[in-house]
Amino acid sequence: MSSSDEHAHSARHPHLAEHFETIQQQDYAARLGMWLFLGTEVLLFAGLFLGYTVYRHFYHATWHACSQALSLSLGATNTVILISSSLTVALAYWAVKVGKRNLALGLLAFTILCAIAFLCIKYVEYSHKFHVGELPGKWFRAEELMQYPAANMYFTIYFLATGLHAFHVIVGMSVLLWVAKGIWKGRYTPDYFVPVELGALYWHLVDLVWIFLFPLLYLI
């Protein structure tokens, strides 16, 4: 990156793929593709939210009792962690855009640490549920919730929704790691930052899903 300080307007942009005419066109296509993908992600989670809606309607008291069995403090902590990591990834994107490479790397490192912290807390929650038997389907054996019909369905939906979300956390974390590597190697600069932008968008989606999962699972 230090070799040339030419403001490449006449020359072809170094990151412009052959099948695009201008870098603007390439960026436009990349952003549109990412938003389309995020749209399908919303619809992927939509099925789980729908299942939640149907069973909550039928087993309202069960849903209330089971949500009380979750740890509100752990859930709220995870919400704060994800919201803060969304802030730091937005700041990292800004830092890349204005050329603050080290700041961007630090912010991304913090974001990835947040993701790890989120998963650790999730592990604590899951292991407690395995211990007391608050599990989906035929594995359900939590004595105090036995009196509520379809309590196992609550935990089926709990594990599917939070499990799919945790998988997204892992993927998002890996994407951010890959983005950080690119910044480290000087590939993403104020002249070319769309991959950072798209990686950040994915991480925000992870936050977005949790913003709905948290009240629906923990606060009902």
Binding site: W35, V42, A46, F49, T53, H57, Y59, I83, L219
Partner: protein
Amino acid sequence: MAQATTTESAHAKDAHHHGTKSYWVVWVILLACTGLTVFTGQHDLSHVFPSANITIALIIATIKASLVVWYFMHMREAAGTNRIVFVTSFVFLLVMIFGVFGDLWTRSPMTLPYHTPTTEGPEIEVPEGGAHHAPAHHSPSPEHHE
């Protein structure tokens, strides 16, 4: 579309002046909203109106999500097509949920799963005895004759 593209490039130029203040402000609002939803979630608000808890929780979640999409995800600077694409997916999410919910709310008792204990929302009136033998199309009105 031309207008959207100019907005985008215009923004890229003033990114330096933009600063990070809006991110921090949004973050503080998001934390405050989280605190608020935890607070309201711990109190039974059903005396205000039925399903007050979930309604309030979902309103707060929607506000939080909108802030994340608008500021953190830069939807406010996104091209028109990108906005349409993303918002459309939410529209279809709502179509699916409310379509199914419309069915659930208007079901006759016989079509409910075995020993459904409580149903929320508009109470489904179960006629004295014989409810489980009533035809599927029976009317839920109180004047329903035997």
